[in-house]
């Protein structure tokens, strides 16, 4: 009798049937908001989906969406690195690979809109956002330094983020629709 080596994966059941179309649409929206390059969008979305499917087979995922955002964010960073290396290596001859004027303008516009929204906020809320996002401070550290409760810090971040979102030009039509 030949020796057989069994490797058995004990999993707590298979992952529940995910709504992959909804996941794909969500990821596409996220990636599109982070890059203006259409080719990169589809690349990143497809690669993220395939990694999610693979991961889901290997282990039970606590959150498909949270992991999806994380994978997509990492892939975007990879793309960005690859692009900047390419531009750096090929020098000035490839001026066409530099960000398009439209993209730069959109970026500037975005920054201007966000700055305006930040300026309109209560100063404390702006301070909390700066500490949290820019300095990466923990909620505990922010609460301690500003003499707030953890709940209040959370509230400031939540409201601040909502304010910023409101200021951004989005599909208001869709927003009206659910009222």
């Amino acid at each position: 009798m030949p020796a057989v080596l069994h490797q058995i994966e004990n999993r707590a059941g298979d992952a529940p049937a995910e709504d992959w179309r909804a996941i794909a649409a969500t990821l596409r929206r996220y990636v599109r908001a982070r890059t203006s390059r259409a080719d990169v969008v589809e690349d990143v979305v497809q690669e993220t989906l395939s990694r999610l499917v693979h991961q889901g087979r290997v282990q039970k995922l606590l959150s498909v969406y949270a992991l999806g955002f994380r994978i997509a964010a990492n892939l975007l960073i990879d793309h960005h690195r690859r692009d900047s290396r390419y531009v750096a290596e090929s020098g000035e001859e490839t001026a066409s690979l530099a960000p398009s004027p439209h993209r730069v303008l959109a970026g500037r516009q975005e920054v201007a809109i966000l700055k305006e929204a930040l300026a309109a906020m209560p100063p404390l809320r702006r301070d909390v956002l700066v500490r949290r996002r820019l300095h990466g401070q923990s909620c505990a550290a922010i609460a301690k330094e500003l003499g707030l409760s953890a709940k209040a810090v959370e509230k400031h971040i939540t409201r601040g983020l909502a304010d910023l979102h409101k200021a951004m030009p989005g599909d208001t039509a869709a927003r009206e629709a659910v009222r």
Binding site: R34, R125, C139, L161
Partner: protein
């Protein structure tokens, strides 16, 4: 507040929770449930997550001037109770501490099981790079997680060459006996459910019984745990365990244990039903991978009869009538 403004606030709260370095495990499934509830939930989360991570936000925040004295200015959202506010930092620290412990994406206790049939052993390389040489008729369950490495020897014998890692301990359990190491080479022999022998070939290991550390073994030393009692063994020679070359050095080992070892190399079942014989203490060096030679040695030194049947081998007390 409009319905949509409410969704945006709920979504913003999720974004804040998800973008912390450590997230409670219960948050994951709750987040997915919220996402599945409505298309608008998914749209807003996608937009907010992109916004929160955008370079534009970092730039805008970096350029935003903080008004002098901002830190002490009263905010729109304040606690109604001053007493609570003074206690707030402590509460905040506790709330944050509670989040530490479980990471968001935890592999759901993934266990790999490795088995060998009687007759031949095999080598496996584990997820952390450690190598395990399994003897025949051996079963091993292995879990390699980001924070720990563990293996359970369900039956049989295995030689572990554990890859050194500074923090991730490698633990081998065999019944109530456990061996803890960081990186070393050692052999674990599960001779019976209540009997385990450990020998160290490189480095040092901690041998414990039922969770208590009993003994630290250095290179060249061994220990035997029988019914929860640990006894140190004499120094061993050589760089690899005997079984890898097909030998077993017995000193006062029950015949049953020796026969189990012979069985690990033999596809033909060896029957030893007599209780007194099973417990008979045996000493000597046996070539266990050579079934006939090993059994001949037993027959020569002890008072037993060995009957070779077509499908099984039976061992009985000498002189007992063949009742087949």
């Amino acid at each position: 507040m409009t319905r949509d403004a409410q969704i945006v606030e709920e979504a913003a709260a999720w974004i804040d929770r998800l973008n912390r370095p450590v997230v409670d495990a219960a948050v994951g499934p709750a987040f997915d449930a919220w996402m599945a509830a409505a298309p608008r939930h998914r749209e807003v989360i996608a937009e907010l997550q992109a916004l929160w991570q955008s370079e534009a936000l970092v730039e805008a925040l970096g350029q935003s001037r903080l008004a002098p004295g901002v830190a002490t200015a009263p905010s729109v959202i304040t606690d109604r109770s001053g007493r609570l506010r003074r206690a707030a930092p402590r509460f905040a620290a506790a709330a944050c501490a509670m989040l530490v412990a479980v990471m968001l994406i935890v592999p759901a206790l993934l266990t790999s099981t490795y088995r060998t049939n009687a007759g031949r052993g095999r080598s496996v390389v584990l997820g952390d790079g450690s190598r395990v040489d399994m003897s025949g008729d051996t079963e091993l369950r292995v879990q390699i997680l980001p924070w720990k490495r563990s293996a359970e020897l369900v039956r049989g014998e295995a030689f572990f060459d554990v890859r050194h890692e500074r923090v991730r301990i490698f633990r081998v359990a065999s019944g109530t006996t456990s061996v803890r190491v960081l990186g070393t080479a050692f052999n674990v022999d599960r001779q019976s459910p209540t009997r385990t022998a450990v020998v160290v070939y490189r480095g040092a290991v901690e041998v414990g019984v039922a969770g208590e550390t009993e003994l630290v073994l250095n290179t060249g030393y061994g220990a035997r745990v029988v019914d929860g009692h640990v006894s140190a063994q004499r120094r061993i020679a050589g760089g690899v365990p005997d079984w890898k070359s097909g030998w077993f050095e017995a000193s006062d080992v029950p015949l049953g244990v020796l026969i189990d070892k012979v069985q690990r190399y033999s596809a033909r079942p060896i029957l030893l039903h007599d209780r007194a014989l099973q417990a008979l203490p045996i000493s000597g060096r046996f070539h266990v991978s050579d079934t006939e030679r090993a059994l001949q040695a037993v027959q020569a030194a002890y008072h037993v009869d060995i009957a070779y049947g077509p499908k099984t081998i039976a061992i009985r007390p000498a002189g007992e009538a063949d009742d087949r």
